[in-house]
Subunit: 206 residues, 4 copies
DNA sequence: TATGAATGAGAGTTCATTCAT
DNA sequence: TATGAATGAACTCTCATTCAT
């Protein structure tokens, strides 16, 4: 443990991320979070007032971080080529470094879908540019110009995000199907990025 | 409600599926399951002896059903063409009809990855044929013959399953990004199947 | 204990009355209420959903009972003579039999004055007759006819209720001042009624 | 606020009086007392060592102040006339200026009757004269001489104190009964004194 | 098969109090 | 004197589970 370096508040956050990832919001126990952080249970409430709020802080911080990463990449991409190369890389790198957060996001997505939607919507509203409109128009434009083969932005997203985002969660099933352990090491990450980029470029570019 | 037609046992199962889908195992409340089934709480324990066991029954029944569907299709496909057309269809049709089960599976996958793996492994062991070996060899064979562009069976699976499986869970995020409601109607299902089939055929076939 | 005769619900109420009377709402402990009722702590919440609600039920039941007693007496009194004889008797008899309730009422009156006011107002609203108007007009009428010496209905009430109601609460102070124990037995009750009736009849009748 | 003029200690006392009056001992929160006093929670314990002790200090200070006022008046009254005029005035004026203290006293009287009794007894013991004996003998003497109509000193006190003391606490009930707001302004105080004096003089003097 | 009542363990949360600075 | 952080005990309330009928 890095009790000395991190403040109690940060240690609580780290421990909570682990706990929420493993057990989801309802399965998470504040006593375990406290033990994991090496502090008294009451400190959780001293700093975060409630389990629910602690959870919200984590979700929102995570979303902010992902969206910030995504934004940076999207801003400098104007062709589908670049976009289809950039997005999987952003997602996969982010969530390979933050696999616990990936799990928490999934939990939240399943249990209260509106929660994450609301957060995204709110962040987009505060943004100076309008990602929703930009993306829709971009896709339409590219399709009309005959650059891409998928006209519906909904399916464009659904073809890009899941293979990038859910690969860490789905891995146990793959392991079962192929009957062997799979290590999420650097090589795996690079291979995954290549495979997804290849898939969506060949699959959606004309 | 079909209180009259269904037995108490079946009504509990139906109600439990809803409850587990919405809240996950830890968030599920047996009182709500009972109310939803229109029976006394104690009956849940009379029929299923524990919340955990009720959960296990549901998970295992679901997995059996999916795998059975998958098996049927896989058995009659010998070319990647057919496989890449068949798999998304099986998955998407199954989980569009059983969206609640999809949610439960995701929950379980995140919270106890080993659980689902074990179930799959066990089922495969009981099968007369060996899907693990068959699939691995099939992919290697196809790659060596230059039919497909992805050599690693792990990534083949990770390119097929997520865009099929997770589209229902990921939808709220897509809605938020595009700022509009998306209806999961028949047209959507057909479009999704087409899009994924198109994606993986063009993306992985040479 | 009368465990056999009373239902668990009634035993909780009885125990709660004792606890609230001794310690007030905030000082009351549900564990002590449970022990006093000879039941499991959880049953309190099974029957009354929350400590606060249990408290409310008691307060409202009490108020209903007092007001009902008062109503009966008031209805058949048309002269100040009879009223000044009746009211002290009603109050003193009721709260001598329910000294614990008296304490609870005082607590509530001090801590959230609006609570009891609201209950009284609500009950009066539901009543067919209008006690507020009747009382005000009665006092004015009597004063104009020269029957009573106090013109303000506010002070009429403040001269009647406190000597009746608060005698049980104030007793410890009296004991301290006179340096002797005072028993609240039947004789004391009768004496008290006589003394108050005498006080307010001579004090307010002309 | 008079943060500058008052010492931290005094500010704590003032804030505590408000808090104890509103919520009673058990409902009072030291964090709220601290916030109200504009100081750190820990200072309460620095100055008063415990919540209970802070409470005790307030109660005892209050009792001392009331009893001192009462003593002054009683000393110079030798006839029931004067006493019946003096006592209501002392009580009503004192508690109209210190309504919060009145509430605290009531709380304490209900929750631990022995506490206040003990304080009074102790103070009387330290006094050079013996109020208990004096009062008892006075009443007996007056009754035997046919000056007053109430022979029992207990009821004499119970006829004087409650209408004076409890008028501030009982007001919400009066408001509810008469369905109108009542302001405790200077006029109300003067009227109340007159009414009580009138009541007990006419009611107990022959 | 079915029910309402009951239970015990443990959840999140609060709070007076203390500690380190 | 003053503070923010820390603590432990206790509190209300919940919930899976069992009992009596």
């Amino acid at each position: 443990m890095n009790k000395k370096q991190d403040s109690a508040q940060q240690r609580i956050l780290k421990s909570a991320v682990k706990e929420f990832a493993k057990h989801g919001f309802w399965g998470a126990r504040s006593s375990r979070i406290a033990k994991g952080a090496g502090i008294n249970k009451a400190m959780i409430f001293y700093y975060f007032s409630s389990k629910e709020n602690l959870y919200r802080v984590i979700i929102e911080d995570t979303m902010k971080a992902v969206l910030e990463d995504v934004r940076k990449f999207i801003m400098k991409t104007d062709s589908p080529d670049k976009l289809f190369e950039a997005l999987p890389e952003v997602y996969i790198r982010f969530f390979s470094k933050n696999q616990l957060l990936a799990k928490i996001m999934i939990h939240d997505l399943v249990q209260n879908p509106d929660h994450i939607s609301a957060i995204i919507a709110k962040m987009f509203k505060q943004a100076s540019f309008k990602p929703q409109i930009i993306f829709k128009e971009m896709v339409r434009d590219w399709y009309e110009k005959g650059i891409i083969s998928e006209s519906d932005p909904v399916h464009v997203i659904l073809n890009i995000m899941p293979p990038s985002l859910f690969c860490f969660i789905g891995l146990p099933m793959v392991e079962a199907v192929l009957d062997r352990k799979i290590d999420i090491n650097d090589k795996f990450i690079e291979d995954r990025i290549k495979s997804v980029v290849n898939l969506i470029k060949r699959g959606m570019l004309k």
